[in-house]
């Protein structure tokens, strides 16, 4: 399932509270085709004038056949919403909700195995394809520009930072994907790198990583083995103090590989152009594209 190459992009929004409703409007403004909403107590109502709201995902799917599900449901109920959308066979699910219990996501992750659904997030800004006028999530539509650079990031707001830099320099984006900051999530750097590799519109890739975990190393390996397009990367957290919250056992598992320097070394070794400061991402891409 390459989320970049879907022909049809009908979106269902689940969770129409304050944030969900506000963001739904922003998506529609951008041009996204939102076909239905789901809310347990607003069944039968409509939003944004004429978009129908259903009481359950199954009903919404039956009546409006969405290909993408966007979740704004509050954290205590979000894992259940993801499972509801998986059970309703929605091919792509974007979960914006932050603060979902880890144990819930462990189960969702296990449940997803062998299923065809692709989950992006949780705790992510979703994705946006300027050219298709498709915005699924909360990436501000005002800062993007259609073009040929694919952006992928673990961090929400930092993604916007990178997009702003690119757009200011006149460099457009083929797609921007925020995979989310939670340790257990549905889509990894590797998954998105593969999608960009496959996507004809994408000519270069920007990847923004963070300290912690080993996802950036996995990405470096994949870039080395099978990504032919040029990659610019930045890793934030080089000056961050050692997290007091990180328990001992956590440190045992990831050890030194969680450090920014280790990640940068792996990426550099894979031929990635490193932006030493996150403010230089745009310039590095410009440099890369000129050389090319």
């Amino acid at each position: 399932m390459n989320i970049l190459n879907q022909d049809s992009n009908k979106v269902l929004i689940q969770g129409l509270g304050r944030d969900g409703s506000f963001q739904a409007e922003r998506c529609i403004e951008f041009g996204t085709n939102i076909v239905s909403g789901v809310h347990p107590t607003k069944s039968g109502e409509t939003f944004n004038r004429n978009i129908p709201i259903f009481g359950s995902v199954f009903e919404a799917v039956k009546k409006t056949s969405p290909e993408i599900g966007l979740i704004f449901v509050p954290a205590p109920f979000a894992a259940d919403a993801i499972i509801e959308q998986i059970d309703a066979s929605i091919p792509i699910i974007v979960c914006v909700t932050e603060g979902i219990p880890v144990s819930d996501m462990v189960k969702v992750n296990e449940y997803l195995k062998g299923k065809k659904t692709k989950l992006i997030g949780p705790n992510c800004p979703g994705y946006l394809i300027p050219d298709k006028k498709l915005k699924v999530g909360i990436i501000p539509g005002t800062i993007v520009k259609s073009g040929n650079v694919g952006v992928v990031s673990r961090s929400g707001t930092l993604t916007y930072e990178a997009i702003v830099q690119l757009t200011k320099l006149g460099i457009g984006q083929s797609a921007c994907v925020g995979i989310g900051g939670d340790p257990i999530n549905g889509t990894s750097f590797v998954d998105v790198l593969d999608m960009f590799e496959e996507d004809n519109k994408t000519e270069a890739i920007v990847m923004i990583g963070e300290i912690g975990g080993t996802k950036e190393q996995e990405a470096a390996e994949r870039i080395k083995s099978s990504i032919s397009k040029p990659v610019v990367a930045s890793i934030v957290g080089q000056t961050a103090p050692e997290g007091r919250r990180m328990g001992h056992a956590g440190a045992v598992i990831t050890g030194k590989s969680a450090l920014a320097s280790e990640k940068i070394n792996s990426l550099r070794d894979a031929g990635v152009l490193i932006a030493d400061s996150p403010t230089e991402i745009g310039l590095k891409v410009q440099e890369l594209l000129k050389i090319k």
């Binding site: 257990i184 000056t239 328990g247 001992h248 050890g255 996150p278």
Partner: protein, 387 residues
């Protein structure tokens, strides 16, 4: 959310994990009383939210109830600062009074979440009582792991195979095996992120017992554990941290800096820190207002930052997504008006409703410089600091 040793041990006991006899004391006389019910040596342990208590003088062994009383007198009401507490002095309000155990051997045992494998993991090491990070670095082969399928739980065969590699007596490995299963039950039932038993001791009577216990609960799961929420000890946090916690804000105090930072998103926070540090301006604190803060929460955030006496300049770097910049601006203005402390600010606002926000701030009485981007903001900050 972290539990005290005595709270963790209550839970262990409830789930049939053996612990030495012990009780919590709130006063020196209580400590004396509990000690007199114990034959032999008594261990007195300060109940604070920090590891490394032993080296810092937070754990004492005494021979008799009178000495126990004296130790408690010293500890209770005092504070403890350990090499693991990050500079913080934790107040000691309670001590745990425990019978001393006759130890033959010490293990390290933990259950936590392995984020790479996306499943719980059980960690066992023969190097108990040590700093486990050091063991992992120097002798990684002494760290053994069992990955747990969340559907099945810790497969007995995996536990058996792991323990059989240690060549323990059957009696001992049977006890450890039961403890592992019971710890996992706790881990699962209480949505823990960490249960750490260090050391897990084999006594001279061939009993396996948990001598120390650390339990951390996933903050995001507390909503389904109201009984655990009641165990929260707010005295173990400083006022600002506590205030941040109560308002769902992520706040970190840093040593030696002068810049108070308000950002949204952990990634942007780290980037902000990287950039300001490079510009020569160290942060005094960091406050991440998160994804969708309300006006009230932003107001609290401003107050927390402003109340830090180290802060000479405030850097606000917000990128509206779910968060709306206009809402944030109102919160900051309210904070300023209600707290009434004027600190120069450098503000970078982008994304959702950022233009409205700038207008609001411009029309306020705050001492504000706007910056278009982070590098500009960083140099603006250094300028203000030099003044």
């Amino acid at each position: 959310m972290q539990l005290h040793e005595y709270q963790a041990k209550n839970i262990l006991s409830e789930y049939n994990v053996p612990i030495p006899f012990g009780q919590v004391a709130l006063s020196d006389s209580e400590c004396e009383k509990i000690s007199s019910s114990i034959n032999g040596k008594v261990v007195i342990k300060a109940q604070v939210h920090a590891g490394g208590r032993g080296k810092a003088g937070g754990i004492k062994i005494v021979d008799n109830p009178l000495d126990a009383k004296k130790v408690a007198q010293d500890m209770i009401g005092g504070t403890l600062k350990t090499f693991q507490s990050g500079g913080t002095k934790f107040p000691i309000n309670k001590v745990y009074v425990e019978e001393a155990s006759d130890i033959l051997k010490e293990f390290y045992l933990a259950v936590t979440m392995d984020f790479d494998e996306k499943c719980p993991v059980i960690i066992l090491s023969t190097e108990g009582g040590m700093n486990i990070e050091e063991v992992a670095e120097k002798t990684p082969d002494k760290i053994m792991k069992i990955h747990v399928n969340p559907l099945i739980g810790p497969s007995p065969y995996k536990v058996r195979n792991l323990l059989s590699s240690l060549n323990l007596e059957k009696k001992i490995s049977q006890q450890i095996s039961n403890i592992i299963q019971n710890l996992y039950r706790i881990f699962k039932s209480l949505d823990c992120t960490l249960i750490e038993i260090n050391p897990l001791a084999i006594t001279s009577q061939e009993k396996v017992i948990a001598l120390d216990a650390k339990i951390t609960i996933d903050d995001d799961s507390i909503f389904r554990h109201s009984d655990i929420e009641e165990l929260f000890d707010e005295t173990q946090m400083n006022r600002s941290e506590l205030k941040a916690l109560r308002n769902d804000l992520a706040y970190i105090k840093l040593d030696g800096g002068k810049v108070g930072c308000m950002v949204n998103g952990a990634g942007l926070a780290m980037a902000t820190m990287d950039i300001t540090m490079k510009a020569g301006a160290a942060p005094a604190n960091f406050l991440d207002v998160g994804g969708s803060a309300s006006e009230e929460r932003i107001e609290e955030a401003y107050k927390i930052i402003a109340s830090d006496n180290d802060v000479e300049v405030i850097l606000v770097n917000l990128f509206g997504g779910i968060l709306r910049c206009d809402v944030a601006a109102k919160g900051i203005i309210n904070g300023f008006e209600n707290y009434n402390k004027s600190i120069p600010m450098v503000v970078v606002l982008r994304g959702t409703n950022s233009e409205d926000a700038k207008l609001l701030l411009e029309n306020s009485e705050l001492d504000i410089s706007f910056a278009e981007d982070l590098p500009t903001a960083a140099s603006e900050i250094t300028k203000k600091l030099k003044k």
